[in-house]
Symmetry: C2
Subunit: 475 residues, 2 copies
């Protein structure tokens, strides 16, 4: 109790000024294993990357075939681990990449006025019965009953919930609109046949935004605004995409587009017109439609992975839940809605699918889990004298390039040759791999710097390394 | 298609260097409503704070009584909105506070070597049957069947899942240990009577960490290390806590402690000894125990809210799932485990419970959703000439105090008096409220600065404001 009393007394008052309440110096963001200092050491990572092909296959034997590159690579290098069909453990590298992706998404959504909320996964049957989707969604909804026998589903999407939330605000004025409410949360869908790893799972992270406008014109402006933010997102990630006209499906509404990453493994068939800007998901076209409806030229087929989807909903949901606002004449008026999804875990896998080679993962630069991997010499080798050089380079980068704090990993598995560690680093796709090879012993030292996203290798001294790395953008 | 081709051509190669892949300038973190510039305007927030007491009461009528201050205040000012019993929508201010809390938790966990993972919510019945908890947990587990009639629960905790995950790594060496794996995810528990808002919900965010060590000594060191990180966390938040000996409950193991925030509304009864450091949850003591088991002095009773819980598990779970590593002699040996929880949404509500007055929310400085609220003069008032002064102060702070980017809100509801807006700001608990009152017209201008966490008010000119605000710590 004395300890407790001391603690109590040490606080000036319970309601102290914010400087007092948050008086400690923020900790370094470094991982630091107890007693091993502040350097990020690869040997201490929970990052199982030595799986053999047969192990990877047997791991997924239960839940389906290894059907695409991203799934195989992500299992092989220890980015994900299967839990049950369509459900994966995200391992530390993947969590880092996903958190970066969420930061980019937050920036883009907030730049257009998006406000982040967080709605429960448990969604009551009554909400879904109101829109008839309780029946319509069939077996895709995961359903359960609580201890009082009340029925719920696990939300795959939240039109019902968010519309009821906005409808509960009784004093909305047109002056407050638009509202762009979004969340980044785990969603659930009982896929008949989950496959392709994170591309089609039963549990996945999604960014879903719901917009509320005071007129159809304003809602269409908002629709363009969100599409623009999606464009900006994929451009920043360096992912080539195509925006196609799409089917509204069970969500409903009157207009819909998909953002697709063109890639052979994609499950969607897209029709694009080489003659004009027209492009569409083929499910929106008649079976016999071979020509572009705009310019009448012949359509070309390609395949894509859907990574974003936008819907103009009109008043479909606001009319059911009575989501109204006072219009310019003071009269109650139904909100015009849109909804906008981005598959967060899916974008990660799709980016790997698009950017990687058969054997080596490549990341969008902004999303790489770690930007830099340092490979010191093998223990007992001639170059061993350069070992501490790499340690001090690690510390020097942390100091000279503040945005790379926590982004530089030291591959301290010095019982392995440089070649073997470079092979691992190549597989994992760190944008920059820096090796203390023979020329590290020269005076001044030169280091081998592999820019893995361009495939270039250059020799640089310490200053050159810092100059190169200070151009790296980190989110 | 032309548009598409242009986009493709504009990208030098698919696998481009990271500078190319992330070539755009990052967007400002500001909310910015379309066409309204970059200033954060209160009038555009989805932040319903004008609820009357009777509305708050009727909202919760379905799910129980308004039983504590934090629940009442959080409903009143629009921080949460009830969805179904024990399930809440977290509104934008709360999401901001929670994201800050998660950043502080990440810093503390990573400072001791924690690595962040993310495990699915759906947890298969077979895992839980292996430990007998499928039966033991009874009605607290939310259970469901998928379309193939396979049974799952929604994880309230993840000992089974994480131990099976680590057990799947067949080549672990003692040199790699300890592993400290943690996640911050939504958890589910079918409370018989959810109440107290975010303090006891059915769906809530929790940080759960699981540690794997090579010996009991190492595991006990890790236990101390995590307790130290928890201490550091609550100290940084300015929340007085007491660490008490606790019951192991259904989790099991041989040693357990709770981190409790002493407060009257707390559901836990704690016995603390004024004579020595002993403190315990009363459920660990015999009913007749009136004296301290250490110094024999009389025990004092107090109440607390459990915000953290630590368990030393030994090999309870590793023996069931066969989570082994090669020890120093190369022989397989069972990992010694610990598990460590922090109630994330609960800490938010508990902090509000502890720090707030009956009518006004107060936040730990680090967690306040916005640090600063600027209140320009009422439209049509004498001071109206100072309106633009507040706009330019907003921009000046953003420039001069970079860490406050996105932290400064402009209360542009200038149809309201300064007094009414100050009342709202007081309720919401921004650490700093800055008002353009009468002295704003002096030359130089003086602004009224309310430091809400200390209750002080001072007059400062622009430079003084910047000097004060540059001391604010933001996470």
């Amino acid at each position: 109790m004395e300890g407790l009393l001391t603690r109590w007394r040490a606080l000036p008052t319970l309601v102290a000024c914010s400087r007092q309440l948050s008086g400690c110096v923020p900790c370094s963001l470094h991982h630091c294993a107890p007693g091993r200092g502040k350097r990020l050491l690869l040997s201490r990572m929970f990052q199982p990357q030595n799986l053999r092909e047969d192990q990877v296959l047997s791991q997924e034997g239960r839940s389906g075939d290894l059907t695409c590159k991203s799934q195989r690579l992500m299992l092989q290098v220890g980015l994900i681990h299967p839990a049950s069909p369509g459900c994966y453990h995200l391992l530390p590298y993947t969590v880092r990449a996903m958190e970066k992706l969420v930061r980019v998404i937050d920036q883009e959504m907030q730049a257009i006025g998006g406000q982040k909320v967080n709605m429960p996964s448990l969604s009551s049957a009554e909400l879904w019965r109101a829109t008839n989707r309780w029946d319509l969604m069939g077996k895709e909804l995961l359903r359960l009953r609580d201890r009082h026998d009340k029925e719920y589903c696990l939300g795959p999407t939240h039109e019902e919930a968010v519309t009821a939330l906005v409808a509960s605000q009784k004093t909305l004025s047109y002056k407050q609109l638009p509202f762009l409410l979004y969340q980044v949360t785990r969603k659930f869908r009982d896929e008949p046949r989950p496959r392709f790893g994170l591309l089609r799972g039963r549990e996945f992270y999604m960014k879903d935004m719901y917009t509320f406008d005071s007129s159809t014109e304003a809602a269409q402006q908002t629709y363009s605004l969100v599409c623009g933010a999606y464009r900006s997102l994929f451009n920043r990630l360096g992912l080539p995409f195509v925006k196609v006209q799409a089917d509204v499906g069970s969500i409903g509404g009157t207009m819909s587009h998909e953002f697709q990453l063109p890639v052979d493994v994609g499950e969607d068939r897209l029709a694009v017109c080489p003659g004009c800007n027209f492009s569409a998901n083929m499910e929106t076209l008649g079976l016999s439609q071979m020509n572009c409806p705009v310019c009448q030229g012949p359509l070309t087929e390609t395949r894509g992975i859907e990574v974003g989807h936008t819907f103009y909903l009109g008043t479909k949901y606001s009319s059911i839940f009575n989501a109204r606002f006072a219009n310019v004449h003071g009269k109650p008026s139904l909100a015009e809605m849109g909804c906008y999804g981005l598959g967060v875990t899916r974008i990660l896998a799709a980016a790997i699918e698009v950017l990687s080679t058969e054997d080596c993962i490549r990341w969008p630069g902004l999303l790489a889990p770690y930007q830099v991997c340092l490979i010191p010499p093998k223990r007992g080798s001639k170059e061993m004298a350069a070992t501490e050089l790499m340690g001090s380079l690690h510390d020097h980068i942390a100091e000279a390039v503040p945005q790379l704090q926590g982004e530089v990993l030291l591959d301290d598995r010095t019982h392995l040759t440089i070649g073997n560690r470079l092979k691992d680093a190549n597989k994992l796709g760190y944008p920059f791999v820096i090796i203390a090879g023979k020329r590290a012993l020269e005076d001044p030292s030169y280091l081998e710097v592999w820019c893995q996203n361009t495939g270039e290798m250059v020799f640089l001294n310490k200053e050159g390394v810092v100059e190169l790395l200070s151009t790296v953008q980190v989110v």
